[in-house]
Symmetry: C2
Subunit: 267 residues, 2 copies
DNA sequence: ATCCGGGGCCGTACGCCGTACCGTATGCCC
DNA sequence: GGGCATACGGTACGGCGTACGGCCCCGGAT
């Protein structure tokens, strides 16, 4: 279960695939496999049927080749996932003309990332462990850093802000998509699911053991009819995070150029 | 791969196990299995060997029973994971005497959650999809809501703040633990790993294609010697998030009691 | 024209997994 | 003491990732 990397990854080999160095010489006859064709097929499957349906057999079947042929181009499933992830990063739009300063640019980047998760929900489960170090991941990182450049933060802070915002997007995306996921899996809508648990929930609430939980839980549930909840959490959280970033940005630009000696994170 | 729930979960059955209703009548002879013993064994395995080592066979072996005996008490692996998760929530400390107002209490809750992830890293991969609705999860939720009660936020906002903070903790914990995880899996320290990729990284930096990424990336890498990076990201992000929450809290307490009609999240 | 070596392709098989199915045997109740 | 519910578990099935080794076809050297 789960996508832990096995212990035997050769970094050079992995990177060579990510950057498409030394593509195998395409023989004229035969199926004419390639890393690109494999990755494209794999992404199509994951998009259409979810990441659990993504098996090496399934990929090879979609390509009309034998299962083990895929291994000629890709060392294993873990590396295939890496390339798939980096390919997705390449899909993110990177407009250069976003108006409105750092806040608007960060917000735009956040929405762009959320959209990527929305279109390819399996990305949430494929992104694990260490960063992929592919060309598209680097380009994405480089672009997004631009949003927080030149506003008084040092390099380490810029990285931390980006990590924070994208982390929030990922958390929120997980919540948004889990609702959809589980609907597909259980065949119940979110409302039906809560309804099926309602008798139990009532028992807890009436027990008086969880006063806050029952009051806030039902309020949060009712306020926005179920499915809208996660979206609200995304928007609310994003504004709070940006507010928090604004605080430190203001602090930095207030103290014109004392260079350093400002702990900043004492709270 | 991965822990998607299968489509056939009976909510009543699941909840009955979580709340330990109707424990099977313990026969005097025999191994004397129980949900508790099974869960305890499973948690021990996951703690010691990681969640990938947690298989039904492994659990039954640890208990000295046949593999299928476990299924007398637990419908399947998904439900076992649910109970394991709720059991962990019961381990979180819930001190009632935290001084310092909402900010200190939220911060304390955040650190407590991070610690839980640190002690049981597999929780990160076991928590997926919908909340577990076990007794300990409810108690935890109830307790943590107390941190943001009575400071002018409405119920929905209280829930959203908690979601935001705990989401950050989870993101940061993932980063912290992925470093440790991968060290265990690849047998390389974080430093060694980056060193093995260094030749490539240099090529990118010198290419000039990713100016921001290479400057900030190496700065972030050097500034704090690798392993400390994620910890910094946690602390920095937490303070930013709390700053952001402070902004809305101030706004709410400023406008004494206009009750509603305040959108709050326009940005 | 012939040979040969390399490499794309892939059939088979192994050791895992979760769990369905169904038999066994044991204690409880009447 | 007889019958039955139920805890326990042996076997087996379908699926996974992938190691291994063979086939066969193409390019280049002879």
């Amino acid at each position: 279960m789960s996508n832990e990397r096995k212990g035997k990854i050769d970094p050079a080999r992995s990177l060579a695939i990510l950057w498409r160095t030394r593509e195998p010489t395409s023989r004229s006859a035969g199926p004419g496999l390639s890393v690109d064709r494999i990755v494209r097929a794999a992404i199509e499957i994951a998009d259409a049927e979810g990441i659990d349906a993504l098996t090496m057999r399934r990929v090879s079947e979609a390509l009309g080749v034998g299962t083990m042929s895929v291994y000629t181009y890709v060392p294993g499933k873990a590396e295939l996932l890496d390339v798939m992830v980096d390919t997705l990063y390449g899909e993110i739009r990177r407009p250069v003309d976003v108006p409105g300063g750092w806040r608007a640019r960060l917000e735009q980047a956040a929405r762009e990332n959320l959209e990527l998760y929305r279109v390819h929900p399996w990305l949430l489960r494929a992104e694990t462990s260490r960063p992929v170090l592919g060309p598209n991941m680097l380009a994405k990182y480089d672009y997004e850093l631009g949003a927080v450049a030149g506003i008084g933060l040092d390099d380490v802070e810029m990285d931390a802000v980006l990590t924070l915002v994208l982390g929030h997007v990922k958390s929120a995306a997980r919540a948004v998509l889990d609702v959809a996921d589980l609907e597909r899996e259980t065949g119940m809508t979110d409302g039906q699911w809560w309804q099926s648990h309602a008798p139990w929930l009532e028992r807890f609430m009436k027990s008086g053991s969880y006063p806050m939980a029952s009051r806030v839980g039902s309020a949060a549930g009712e306020a926005h009819g179920a499915a809208y909840g996660p979206e609200y959490a995304f928007e609310f959280g994003l504004q709070r995070v940006l507010d928090g970033v604004a605080v430190i940005v203001a602090k930095r630009s207030a103290t014109a150029e004392p260079d350093r000696s400002d702990p900043a994170d004492a709270g």
